[in-house]
Amino acid sequence: MRHASMRTALALGLAAALALAGFATTAAAAPKKGGILKYIIPAEPPSYDGHRETTFGLVHPIAPFYSLLIRVNPDNPASPTDFVCDVCAEMPKPTDGGKKYAFKIRKDVKFWDGQPLTAKDVAATWSKIVFPPKGVASARKGQFHMVSKISAPDDETAVFELKFPSGAFLPALAAPYNFLYSAKKLAQDMHWYEKNILGSGPFKFKQHQAGAFIEGERNPDYFFKGAPYLDGFHGIFSSKLAVRVNAIRSGQAYIEFRGFPPSHRDDLKKALGDKLTVQESDWNCSLMIAPNHLKKPFDDPRVRRALTLAVDRWGGSQYLSKTAIVKTVGGVVFPGHPLAAKKAELDKIAGYWPDIEKSRAEAKRLLKEAGVKEGFEFTLHNRGVDQPYKIVGTWLIDQWRQVGFKVKQWVQPTGPFYKVLRSRSPQYDVSMDFNCQAVVNPLADVFKFLSTDRSGSNHANYTDRKVDELFDKMNRTGDIEEQQKFMREFERRILDEQAHYFITLWWYRIIPHRSSVKGWKISPSHYLNQDLSNIWLEE
């Protein structure tokens, strides 16, 4: 009981904090019907199958066509713990000691082809996600390792049985990719949904012209009566930021749901005045630095500490937040979450000291002690994407220059970048790394930092049992104060004592959109709340 209320309190607190972060409030005017939403999408979906893709480029154009079992609350998308039903009738109370969840499914849900969506479809969909047959890829299968059985005893009940109670289950269930598919189509061809779209969401698929645009039209049989407000949508694909900014400026698109750099917000605001509304939020993505422990001298904690001590995060936050999509100074946990370090706690971690001169002097002292000479050269391995990778990379190089490092940037396109980053080899000295999840879930999100034999995405290549031990302790306790205590220790171990990994800055999401777009609320993730059902146009 205590646990549950604590959770609610946390959720409310976080929601309030995030609501404050966004400085635009949506007016409570009555929604209007009609209109086509024109928006711009920075990436194109490789296939249409949400279950096997991981990119937001799939969510933005495809999510409006599908329903989910549960989802983040579209009226409160800023909260990481507020989940509501989509096709289920009510959120179930777990039984069997937290090991059994029985979802009641609404009776009025229909696919566009007229077939009803029943618990059988829900069970078939989730079986595909959790227990994919041979040859079927499921990108997030591993997050459901606690699930033992999925069944549909009747058309109105879908039952999930777990091996053990787990707080990570519901957030994973609410992930925006878990589109509900038709059991009949899946029985005919498990790969059918890769190239076809048939859903029960607020919009019906109209057409997709590769490399150009995607269109949807209102689903008149959508089970939430009255929704959606729009007659349809027209999503334009363009990976180039300059094009996206100019599209909003010239009115060829009303909104882009990923995020713009601050200077473009200011530019657009200056050009469009009242015709532009800006929504902002902290963003559940961060850029990290992985010093490769397999490469000398980065196997030496003193050198790694010096690297992080040289970086003026507080100053950088001020400057970079004028040009890049990063802003918030934080530790390993999404800033603003109750598990995140407070300012006073951060101030004690290497690289977060308020006095940067003192910090840099310490860095130089450590380097001298470790025998690293002034003018030591190394390369920063980086991803060939401007925002924010190369901008933060260029900033870091300038920061390291100030303690005597000569750093070259080794920029690679995304493919070769990940090949090298995931190679578990001394191919790079220090690499940029990136973590970006949909649902905010710090206990799961810090999994990355575990020893290489446990975490597939530890790209600093270290083994540290102390880290693993703290993580396990943290996940085994339900007590929030205990969790906080272990999290602080975990964080100090990684960022300060051993300086295994560094967080540079957390991202900051800025959505400048035409003021005619109403009803859309920003969330801390560009993956969430994208079915467009609550948007209307005030023209």
Partner: protein, 301 residues
Amino acid sequence: MVELRSEAIAAAKEEEDTPRRFLREAVRDLVFRKPLGAAGLAIILLMIAMALLAPVIAPYNPVANVYEKIHQPPSVENWLGTDQFGRDILSRIIYGARTALLVGFVSSLVGATLGLVLGVASAYFGGRFDLVFQRVMDVFMAFPLIIMALAVVSIFGTGVQNVILAITIPIIPRCARVVRASALAIREIPYVDAARAMGFGHGRIILRHMVPNVMAPYLIMLTSFMAQAILLEASLSYLGLGVQEPVPAWGLMLQGGAEEYAESAPWIAIFPGLAISLSVFAFNLFGDAVRDALDPRLRSD
């Protein structure tokens, strides 16, 4: 028969003295008869001076980020304004001349020279070697320059050395083809046979007799590739596949921020583009003059 042969031998001997005279004439021709070409040369020399003296003449450190001075318009302090990192654009353009010249000189020199050697050898040896070699060159020529360069950069990665490599490789077959055509004509001339009859080795005949005779197309290609290499480097950098931050390079300065802020900070987009255009313009003017001076068919008098 004997007379004919000794004449040819005399001609072969004379050939060995020509290159120096040839070049001397060319230089004189350029300065007095080609004022446009001389102007081009002047700009090129200016660029070289700029590159060599960069640390002395650049007002600021080209890689130092000054976040208080982001997006400053041109002023007394920063003549050409500042970029999205608050770096001085003038200083970056001055240092950028180093990158442009380095990439331009090295890739066109190496590319054209390898093309020269391969083209002459192919013409000289002829037969099966020539046939196979021509097919290989055909394959390389079947791709546009930019596509070939893009492929090489994708394989070897970005950065100055790899950009040079990426530009050098597609230059080789283009130069080899032209040189081979000229060399074929020379191979037919009796003095090559005569030289061989005198017992000169292949190497000596190629180097002393054939190469000087294809110097004209070689020099023409060299100057025109210099311009193309600078343009290609800029294009690759613009696509994000060329030189990387924070190295000052003109094409790189046009990538990303320059385009996005084109309206509010147009100086970021305008000045580096001017620098590229002016230098390529200069190399083209100079190249035209070299062509006119060296290609007797196009001599304007």
